[in-house]
């Protein structure tokens, strides 16, 4: 067999995935932390103040990467949900369910930072502009997936039901977005966007892209950590989990991992 295909087959086995993810996790966290620090330094110190919005524009370095991530994570979750439902791969179920809380966290940050930006700029904490409203609906979708997953007792069945809901959400999201845009034009809502019309300069752009990179890496780190925890709970009857559990007290003392 092709070595890459073989590797994917091996990765599908929970104990192998657990070890593999455990080896990668510290590196992912480190990369996310370092690139995040560089991005924040660039955004807070190096980048000049925007000539229209002043220093308040510096919020985009957390707001915009999180907004991108909220959609990216949903796409990732839906892709895994699709694989889980069609090919019944247990690892995909785990990955789809592990990405939901991370996506909800990013969506929440997007909403709060958007609101913090809105207060000085629009003079109000909340405005029903198309982007914020779509983001709010996205948060509800995430919460629905998480809620359904935790409400059903049988873990595999819960994952499959929640995965199905995530897929319905994919069909729904563009419809929500365009209907909210239409609704906004009807009501002559806010049209000022957070990015503004001002052309973004090079020294403003690179910190943004660095932050986007950092949040992506962070997502995969959190995803792997959550998938590891979920696999332990899911396979608690298996020998490999018992071995880890029994070895735990001594290992916990030296280092986690």
């Amino acid at each position: 067999m092709n070595p890459l295909v073989l590797w994917f087959h091996k990765l599908g086995s929970p104990p192998y995935f657990y070890r593999f993810a455990g080896r990668f996790l510290p590196w992912l966290y480190a990369i996310a932390l370092v690139s995040g620090a560089i991005g924040l330094y660039g955004g807070l110190v190096v980048a000049p103040a925007d000539y229209q919005q002043g220093d308040s524009f510096r919020m985009i370095y957390v707001h915009v990467p999180c907004a991108w991530m909220s959609l990216f994570v949903y796409a990732f979750m839906a892709a895994n949900a699709f694989v889980a439902l069609v090919w019944r791969i247990k690892l995909s179920e785990t990955l789809a369910m592990a990405s939901a809380p991370v996506g909800a966290a990013f969506t929440f940050i997007t909403l709060v930072t958007g609101s913090l930006w809105g207060k000085p700029m629009w003079g109000t904490w909340w405005t029903w502009d198309a982007r914020l409203t779509s983001e709010l609906v996205l948060l509800f979708l995430y919460l629905g997936v998480i809620g359904l997953y935790h409400a059903i007792e049988d873990v595999r069945q819960a994952a499959r039901a929640a995965a199905f809901l995530a897929l319905i959400g994919v069909v729904n999201l563009p419809i929500v977005h365009y209907s909210v845009v239409w609704w906004n034009t009807l009501h002559q809502g806010q049209t000022v966007s957070l990015m503004g019309q001002s052309k973004i300069s090079q020294s403003m752009l690179w910190p943004l892209l660095t932050m986007a990179f950092a949040t992506h890496v962070y997502f995969f780190a959190s995803l792997l950590a959550r998938a590891r925890a979920a696999l332990l709970a899911l396979e608690s009857g298996k020998d490999w989990v018992r071995a880890i559990a029994l070895a735990q007290p001594t290992r916990e003392a030296s280092a986690h991992g």
């Binding site: 609906v137 509800f140 629905g144 069945q157 039901a161 319905i168 909210v180």
Partner: protein, 227 residues
């Protein structure tokens, strides 16, 4: 030994569910009562001025009707699950999606249609201009089947849960937002003297799409929930 035809199965299901609804006809009044109560609460909260009520009439009626229909959705498959009829439906040789479409149709006929019928009364309570009433009825006629169809998917996902009320609302809410925007939007546009055909046509297009896809999705979701 031949199984019966699919149309015979659908007719049998429609007849049985209609007979059951007739036996429990007292329950059918609950959504109506709920919608009237919700609408009646608004004047108490906002004051009785006709201009204020007129401004919010269409949206309030829409929300009240959608909530009433949503509350009744919870029981869509409940009794069939409890007495094992749902298993028999799944095991029958006919396409499950078609049988479920029949059940959804019954739900719409027995809960949403009466709600549309009392919409003129609700409109009168909130001083909705008479000229807007036909638009409201058309929008409700297009939006309520959409709610029944989309809601059925979510009910199928939560059917195995004992208490699913709040969760069901959370699942349905994001899916129903566009329907609410366009349905109430059409009424508001008509009230403001703006063209209102486009949102109604969009609702119609979605309804056609949902009529085809939602029963299939409901069947798939139900199979996930029953295993």
């Amino acid at each position: 030994m031949k199984p019966g035809t699919t149309s015979a199965a659908c007719v049998a299901l429609l007849r049985r569910d209609l007979a059951l609804t007739w036996r429990r006809r007292g329950d059918a009044l609950n959504p109506l009562l709920f919608a009237v109560i919700v609408v009646a609460l608004f004047p108490f909260a906002l004051g009785p001025e006709a201009q204020v009520l007129e401004r919010i009439a269409a949206g309030t009626i829409f929300v009240a009707v959608l909530l009433a229909a949503l509350l009744s959705l919870d029981s869509l498959f409940r009794s069939d699950l409890d007495d094992g009829s749902l298993e028999q439906l799944v095991l029958s040789p006919h396409p499950l999606s078609l049988l479920l479409a029949c059940k959804i149709a019954i739900h719409w006929l027995t809960t949403a249609l009466p709600l549309i019928a009392i919409a003129p009364l609700l409109a009168m309570l909130l001083h909705l201009p008479d000229s807007v009433l036909p638009v409201l009825l058309a929008a409700l006629a297009l939006a309520t089947p959409l709610l029944s169809l989309i809601g059925a998917i979510c009910v199928a996902l939560t059917v195995a849960l004992r208490r699913s009320g709040m969760l069901l609302t959370l699942l349905v809410l994001p899916l129903i937002v566009p329907v609410l925007i366009f349905g109430a939007g059409a009424c508001n546009a008509a009230q403001a003297g703006l063209p209102y055909a486009a949102p109604l046509l969009w609702l119609g297009a979605w309804l056609v799409l949902a009529l085809v896809l939602a029963p299939l999705a409901t069947a798939a979701a139900l199979k996930i929930s029953l295993t």
